[in-house]
Amino acid sequence: MTSRKSVLVLGGSSDIGRATARAFAKGGYDVQLAGRDVAVLEPDAADLRARYNVEADILKFDVLDTASFENFVSGLPALPDVVVSIVGLLGTQENAQIDLDHATTIMRSNYEGPALILGLFADKFLARGNGTIVGVSSVAGDRGRASNYVYGSAKAGFSAFLSGLRARSSRGGVHVVTVKPGFVRTRMTEGMKLIGPLTVEAPVVGDAILNAVQRQADVIYVSNKWRLVMLIIKALPEAIFKKLKF
């Protein structure tokens, strides 16, 4: 290992994961990319090495395989300085309403898996006395909406978990960041109608995450416009909100 700082990106092959890895590598971090399919991670690791002359390793990680988590963490070549979880699954709301398996997968991918793995890292970081944990949650978790409440409720749980973890860890020198990206133009949102002024590209999210880690921010909306939008959405009385279809 080098004397550089290191970051572990869980969900490293997603668009936001790739952008986050690039932002940190550009900032001088060595990178560990973790994902289900290590074959697709290798070209991205090679990209980081070629561009930024940093070390880049790849690791197999499946967010649904919670039984493997303890071995995953103890088997790491080195405990990173920063861990970022980008893992998530949007799924399809219509299917999730009638298909319990699909609903379960959405809930586990967005809440159970990310929360459990970050909880394990919190223990390791607290034992070491430092470290930063980043959870990519969603504005969808700020209030359950008709169009995506299965996904949104899992993200709400994840946001609450991160909030508690932050409070628990802050006295032990470990910082927790909650990231709410809003609309991002990625594979996950391909084909969706996104509202232009509220939509950003993945590299903007990667830079925002690095920036949040550097300044030890607690909760960030990648775009301030989303902070305002969600403030309004959260303030609507339920009697009105329940009539909205979005």
């Binding site: 090679a46 990209d47 070629a50 561009r51 002359n53």
Partner: protein, 445 residues
């Protein structure tokens, strides 16, 4: 279906846009339609980056495969943007050898258009620094093409407007530089003769380009500011300057389509007059500027194409062989200044020999002019084209949205050879763009 257009926003075409995530998926996208072309960052002005029926968006392929700092040799996917290369490798002391007037183009697009920069007269075009290309042909093969191997495919792909297949990856060389700064010298000239003499004298400069005042008439016709440039050495930087100034995101933006009245003969006249006077004040001195304003002055205003309004604009870029260029350029400029609606992007520069079979450059002078898409502009440009053809010149395909079949054939005598190579790579005609349909496909769908 999605409405797609080039940078000039004319024409606007309904096409399927696919965003494959693997090279295998690119192959399926090509095989599955009659008439596909790859699209990079959409900076070709006309219809070059729009498929006859299907368009493959390539910007997701943005990985660097390997880089050797000892040689500057780089292997990368074709969707990497030059802006990304500059920001990533500039601080490490390397820049692309050739950059066009915008850095927001993909490597695949830069190869396909064999783009030129301000150094074409002495260093050639983008293709000269490409050693090898990984190409997915219309026939379904994936081949590596270089000067030694599959050389026909290689030279047809350099400047081939994406019509030999989908460029997947490339190996290219970067230029070692000490800094990200350019030592610039501005020369102000009073008319076209003086401008051409100054460009001629600037042949020894690595970079040279002339901005022409296309409002000035009569004895001032063709008065210009000539920008000469060299890469600045570290010792030439002002004290405390960063050796590599990182490019900021565009600070200004044109958020909406401006009404087409914004650009009228009065605003254009005022702009040209002001620009000339401000430039002339700096003339004669030598100073150091960041590479970003030197190479990419318009990149600092994002979406500047919207200044022309909803109907879009046309860029007319021709090259005229050196012999006799003075008279033809004078004739064109005279007609343009009498019209009065050519706007702020009138650029004159010397070109050298092109490298690809269909590359635009030839030894001579290239003139680029922007016109709003309205009125009788199409007829006017047809007249200009007749002057270009009569002089043995041609038009740049990356800028073109409207030239005629006849103008194109007259300008590109190597077309038959290009067609034969294309046929061997793609016998069923899978790779077709709106541009190839307009200019030379035999089979119309």
């Amino acid at each position: 279906m999605t409405l797609v257009s080039g940078w000039g926003r004319f024409p606007v075409v309904d096409t399927d846009v696919l965003r494959p995530r693997s090279f295998a998926a690119v192959g399926e996208a090509v095989a599955g339609a009659a008439g596909t072309v790859a699209r990079g960052n959409g900076r070709a002005y006309g219809d070059a980056g729009i498929g006859a029926s299907r368009t493959i968006a390539m910007t997701g392929f943005d990985r660097v495969r390997s880089f050797d700092p000892a040689t500057g040799r780089l292997r990368l996917e074709a969707g990497v943007l030059l802006s990304d290369l500059i920001d990533t490798f500039g601080p490490r002391g390397f820049l692309p050898f050739v950059v066009p007037g915008t850095r927001f183009v993909s490597v695949g697009g830069a190869i396909a258009a064999d783009v030129h920069g301000k150094n074409h007269h002495c260093e050639g075009g983008f293709g000269r620094y490409v050693d090898s290309i990984l190409l997915r042909t219309g026939e379904g093969e994936t081949i590596e093409a270089s000067r030694e191997q599959n050389s026909d495919a290689f030279f047809a792909t350099i400047g081939g407007m994406g019509l030999t297949g989908v460029i997947l990856e490339a190996t290219m060389r970067l230029r070692p530089v000490e800094t990200g700064w350019i030592r610039e010298r501005v020369v102000s000239t009073s008319d076209l003769d003086a401008a051409m003499r100054a460009l001629e004298a600037g042949d020894s400069a690595t970079y040279s380009v002339a901005w022409i005042d296309c409002v000035a008439r009569g004895s001032e016709l063709g008065r210009s500011l000539i920008y000469l440039g060299e890469h600045a050495r570290a010792s030439e930087l002002p004290d405390g300057a960063d050796a590599f100034p990182l490019g900021k995101d565009p600070g200004l933006a044109v958020p909406v389509d401006l009404p087409s009245i914004t650009l009228n003969r009065y605003s254009i006249r005022a702009f040209n007059e002001l620009y000339y006077r401000m430039g002339a004040r700096r003339a004669g001195t030598s100073h150091v500027v960041s590479l970003y304003p030197y190479f990419f002055p318009l990149d600092s205003i994002s979406d500047w194409n919207r200044i022309y309004g909803r109907r879009g604009f046309l860029q007319h870029q021709c090259v005229i062989p050196e012999h006799g260029a003075r008279d033809v350029l004078g004739d064109i400029l005279d007609r343009v200044t009498r019209r009065g609606d050519a706007s702020f992007l009138a650029v004159l520069k010397k070109l050298g020999q092109g490298d690809g079979i269909l590359s635009f450059p030839m030894p001579g002078y290239t003139l680029a002019l922007d016109f709003p898409m309205k009125g009788d502009i199409l007829n006017f440009l047809d007249e200009i084209d007749r002057l270009v053809v009569a002089a043995g010149g041609r038009l740049y395909l990356a800028k073109d949205a409207r030239q005629s079949h006849a103008t194109f054939e007259a300008g590109y005598p190597a077309l038959q050879r290009f067609k034969a190579i294309r046929k061997s790579l793609d016998p069923a005609g899978k790779i077709r763009s709106k541009l190839s349909q307009r200019l030379f496909d035999e089979v119309q769908p």
